[in-house]
């Protein structure tokens, strides 16, 4: 058997923490998953005809930054703090207005509570990593009717943003740092996530290994020799590729663009000198540049704390939390002081920041393994893009095991679909849109069942 020779991390999904055995995966997969996909009130009749609920579009943001805490951040130690004998002193809970905040874990983020909103009545659909991550990123059941063709939320945003693209918009509409679990789906590939690994020296994809002048020489020779680029004799797909080459070359040649991906050691240190820190620097730069990027996803892994959750070394909530706090704290500071593209607005005003994982973690005392396991109840943290600070949507009971108040007009759990509708509404995208250009010829909903009001934006955030 290979379980003990680190093939867990090698062979597991990149979003599982080290030490998590396959057995645990199945155990978790086999239990706690009887979440009802369709609430009791729904019957098949509703599938047949939908009355259109007038969509509520906030139109308060230009951009969206999704920070995806892969593995599932523990909500009862962070955004929905529940204190007990298990709470390590390092969390240092403190009262801040109406919330208890883990001031020891998130001191820097805690300085921005005036700008932060929390949803505590969130509920994931599945406690399985790949399924729940995909669900959150495509806003529907991956095993459902359109699961196989659905684009990432960011691709929808990129496609919609095409309508407003200016000649100065040279960057891809959707950029993803550290991976996504969905791509462009059936949308044109140009709306897919443009993959970036943040590095101080810049974006490898934009750097010719043999030097810029060498590339220029080669580029000139290529265009001199390659008749097919002028004649189109190899068909329309090849003509598209020729266009992509030209667009790519423009990115390579633009000093402005390259500058967006580089940063100084000083800056790096300020953001905590970590993967998440580097990634948020680049995310900030891309959005601040206002060159066409409208949706950025930054994935941060290793939040799957089945064990060592309160450890002071290794992968733990405390070590991950410190890095996250340094990074997000710096980001919120920067974004709230930088000018946006509209006079009088900051970059944070124009950017909806959404922080979540694919599900939550078990409540109460920690497990015999020293951690918390998968749990459907979860929290979401939001800022910017019109979101009102110090707003808490929903309330759970004393230990967090059940919801006490949903906290919004829909009076039910907040689902990934609702979060997506919220993002689209903030960006001025009609979340009830049904496209009729899908390969199934069935119709593709931006948010399934949004047309009949089954899912909707959490307007109480605004």
């Amino acid at each position: 058997m290979k379980k003990d020779d680190c093939t867990c991390t090698q062979n597991s999904s990149p979003f599982w923490s080290g030490g998590f055995s396959r057995r645990r995966f199945l155990q978790i997969a086999g239990t706690s998953l009887m979440a009802s996909y369709f609430p009791d009130v729904l019957n098949a009749g509703l599938l047949e005809s939908a009355t259109t609920a007038a969509p509520l579009l906030q139109n308060s943001a230009k951009n969206c930054l999704l920070i995806f805490l892969a593995g599932g951040i523990s909500q009862v130690d962070t955004f929905d703090l529940k204190e007990g004998s298990w709470t390590p002193p390092a969390l240092a809970p403190a009262t801040a207005g109406s919330v208890r905040w883990p001031q020891g874990l998130f001191p820097k983020i805690g300085q921005h509570l005036d700008q932060l909103a929390l949803i505590r009545s969130g509920l994931a659909w599945a406690a399985v990593h790949p399924l729940a991550q995909k669900w959150a990123q495509i806003a529907r059941n991956p095993s459902g009717a359109t699961g196989g063709i659905a684009p990432h939320i960011g691709s929808v945003v990129a496609l919609e943003a095409q309508l407003h693209r200016r000649s100065t918009d040279v960057l891809p509409g959707f950029v993803a740092l550290n991976g996504t679990v969905a791509g462009a789906g059936y949308f044109p590939a140009s709306n897919g996530p443009f993959a970036v690994q943040a590095a101080q020296s810049g974006l490898a994809a934009l750097t010719h290994p043999d030097g810029a002048s060498r590339l220029t020489k080669r580029w000139n020779l290529l265009n001199a020799l390659d008749d097919a680029r002028k004649s189109g004799e190899l068909g329309s797909d090849s003509a598209d590729m020729a266009d992509y080459y030209d667009e790519g070359k423009a990115l390579i040649d633009s000093p402005d663009v390259n500058a967006l991906f580089t940063f100084s050691s000083e800056e790096r240190t300020r953001y905590g000198a970590s993967v998440i820190g580097d990634s948020l620097i680049v995310a900030r730069n891309l959005l601040a540049a206002d060159k066409g990027t409208r949706f950025v996803q930054v994935t941060d892994t290793n939040w799957d704390h089945h064990s060592n959750i309160y450890g002071t070394t290794g992968i733990s909530l405390l070590t991950k939390g410190k890095a996250f706090d340094d990074a997000l704290g710096a980001l919120l500071s920067d974004m709230s002081t930088r000018n946006g593209s509209t006079p009088g607005k900051t970059l944070l005003d124009e950017t909806l920041v959404v922080v979540l994982g694919e599900f939550g973690r078990t409540v109460g005392p920690i497990t015999p393994n020293g951690g918390r396991d998968h749990y459907l109840r979860m929290s979401v943290m939001l800022a910017g893009g019109g979101v009102r600070g110090r707003r808490v949507i929903g309330r759970t009971n004393a230990d967090g095991s059940a919801v006490a108040e949903f906290g919004w007009s829909a009076n039910r759990d907040v689902r990934p679909e609702d979060i997506t509708a919220t993002m689209y509404s903030a960006l001025g995208i009609d979340y009830t849109t049904v496209r009729h250009d899908d390969p199934l010829n069935r119709g593709f909903e931006y948010v399934p069942f949004a047309k009949d009001g089954t899912y909707s934006p959490v307007k109480e955030l605004f």
Partner: protein, 596 residues
């Protein structure tokens, strides 16, 4: 003088051969409908009168009718007045057929030998050589692996490498041995065993639904087998009837009901699927419980409520969706389903259509997963051809190698990808008036870079001893499967060229800016360029020889005279090594490297 006589004799014999062309419009079978049902992706075809050749346009060249594919394809173009292009050159043909059958480009020595070969049947011999190569096994294992989504883990299930690998090796062995495809499908549908030992048992494991009742798994099996083995997307019926939903999706499913879907799924309701769930034993055991049944008693999971109605009591008894046939007395349900499915003509039709699509770029029915069973005279672009191919395939014993051989030997396949009769219209695409150029698959791109530069790749896959030297041979589309930010030099290029994840992200040949950046800036390419030139310059400094070798190895052809002159001029202008590297780099970035 003697040489001239010999040459004349040779030319005369060629002319004579051309006059042997046996094209005869009367041999085109069957009447045609003038109006055709439009496929999703092809543009509208104007009424045929606007495509009639004028009397001043030259007649398109005649080609040997090699088999009934040519009869039908050229026949339809004749009928509709579509001019077809010239036949491919030897260079164009060899590269294309090598890529299409094996996923690899031919190496320079093979190209040279083929060009020098004067035998009349050299194309047929090249085809047979390719069909019996190990690289052929790579390519069609990849095809089947995509079709059944063999992957280590997915959003709904997990095979583990220990399951994925035997499944992969079973596919390779079956394809190498040319096992009848119907037998392969029956094995996938009906094998009981341990997933780490009995490869095809992983078909069932792949469809396990990890977040719902077991009926969701039975539904997945019914839906997947319907889609991929019968070419009909029946998944919609797993939640609701066709009426009121599928009118725009598939007219042949409008009158079908959810109950019928359940009856189809009931064939899978005696499966047992167990996992001991321990660190020492996590193999899936696929078995049969003769007392199992499809109960209508679910209120959660991934489908709408399952409950008995007046029309359908619980449990649901099995009946094959396409025929209503039920299992024989005492017959194992999955064996029964496998028997019925593979015997049904739609199995052959769907399969030949999938394979046709791989070779010709678009299916005779598009989308290939969505046959309208009530419109088989009009939905296919060539209805008689599809019918004939399906019958032929079934009669051959579902012989994949033979079918591929038939297709690539046709003149229709061997038409050039350049269109010379006039201005190309996209509406000609569905006539196969040219071989429509398309981008190589992701794995082929990486393998082509390695082969052109003669610097192999090496990818280690855990649990498999030998490292992989061809990306086309990788056991799934997520290898190398590395944790976040662990560098693997091959992962970026493979993922960027769209090989998909065999889960919810389908493989695509679509382009992107990221792909262009890969071709320009990936060190996987630039380091190989350097190594390649170092080696080449050790054997020659002659610019002409360098140009020839680079063209042959990279683009599978000799440089045209103007290209050769330009290359020589470039090579001689300054540092030979740097210039040769530039030339090699540029040839890899020419559009015809990726598109053929």
């Amino acid at each position: 003088m003697r040489a001239l006589v010999a040459l004349l004799a040779l030319l005369t014999s060629f002319v004579a051969a051309a006059q042997d062309c046996t094209y005869d419009p009367a041999r085109v079978a069957g009447p045609r409908q003038v109006m055709r049902r439009l496929s999703q992706t092809a543009e509208a075809v104007a009424p045929s009168s606007s495509h009639r050749r004028t009397s001043t346009a030259p007649a398109p060249p005649k080609y040997p009718i090699r088999n009934f594919i040519d009869t039908e394809v050229f026949g339809l173009m004749e009928r509709d007045g579509i001019a077809w292009t010239s036949i491919s050159s030897d260079e164009e043909f060899l590269r294309r057929v090598t890529v299409d059958l094996t996923g690899q480009i031919p190496d320079a020595a093979t190209v040279r030998a083929f060009l020098a070969d004067t035998s009349a049947d050299k194309r047929e011999h090249a085809i047979d050589r390719l069909l019996h190569s190990e690289e052929y096994v790579d390519r069609w294992t990849l095809w089947l692996g995509d079709l059944v989504q063999n992957v280590q883990s997915a959003s709904n299930t997990i095979l583990f490498e220990e399951g994925r690998d035997p499944y992969y090796f079973w596919m390779r062995d079956s394809i190498r041995a040319n096992k009848p495809y119907d037998q392969m499908v029956r094995e996938m549908l009906a094998t009981d065993g341990g997933s780490f030992h009995d490869g095809p048992a992983n078909y069932v494991v792949r469809q396990w639904q990890n977040n719902g009742p077991i009926q969701d798994t039975y539904d997945n099996l019914s839906a997947h087998s319907g889609e991929k083995f019968l070419g009909v997307t029946i998944n919609c019926l797993s939640c609701h009837n066709g009426l009121g939903h599928l009118e725009q999706v598939n007219p042949s499913l409008v009158k079908r009901t959810r109950q019928e879907f359940w009856r189809n799924a009931a064939f899978f309701a005696q499966i047992t699927l167990k996992n001991a769930n321990s660190d020492d034993d996590y193999e899936w055991k696929v078995g049969t419980n003769p007392a199992g049944s499809y109960q209508l008693n679910t209120t959660s999971g991934n489908k709408t409520v399952r409950a008995p109605t007046q029309q359908q009591s619980s449990p649901v008894l099995p009946a094959f969706l396409l025929t209503g046939e039920t299992p024989k007395d005492g017959e194992n349900r999955r064996v029964a389903y496998a028997r019925m499915l593979t015997a049904h003509p739609q199995f052959a039709r769907a399969t030949v259509n999938y394979l046709w699509k791989e070779i010709f770029g678009m299916g005779l029915v598009e989308p290939a997963d969505n046959f309208d069973l009530t419109a088989q005279d009009t939905q296919p672009t060539h209805p008689a051809l599809l019918a004939h191919l399906a019958e032929w395939f079934a009669a051959s014993g579902y012989d994949i190698r033979a079918l591929l051989r038939l297709m690539v030997n046709s003149s229709a396949y061997q038409l050039s990808s350049r269109y010379t009769p006039g201005a190309w219209q996209e509406s000609y695409t569905r006539y196969y008036a040219r071989h429509y150029p398309r981008r190589m698959l992701s794995e082929s791109v990486l393998d082509a870079v390695a082969r052109a530069t003669n610097v192999p790749i090496s990818i280690r896959v855990p649990l498999i001893e030998e490292p992989f030297t061809r990306a086309m041979a990788l056991p799934d589309t997520r290898e190398p499967f590395v944790p976040q930010r662990t560098p693997n030099p091959y992962k970026t290029i493979l993922d960027t060229f769209g090989r998909g994840d065999r889960d919810t992200n389908a493989r695509t040949r679509e382009g992107s800016i990221a792909q262009a950046l890969e071709m320009l800036n990936d060190p996987v390419i630039t380091t190989r360029v350097k190594t390649r030139i170092d080696t080449l310059l050790a054997s020659t400094h002659d610019p002409g020889a360098i140009a020839d070798e680079l063209y042959l190895a990279t683009l599978s052809r000799k440089p045209k005279d103007a290209e050769r002159a330009a290359a020589i001029a470039y090579l001689q202008d300054g540092d030979l090594k740097a210039n040769a590297e530039d030339l090699q780099f540029v040839l890899i970035n020419r559009l015809e490297f990726l598109f053929n």
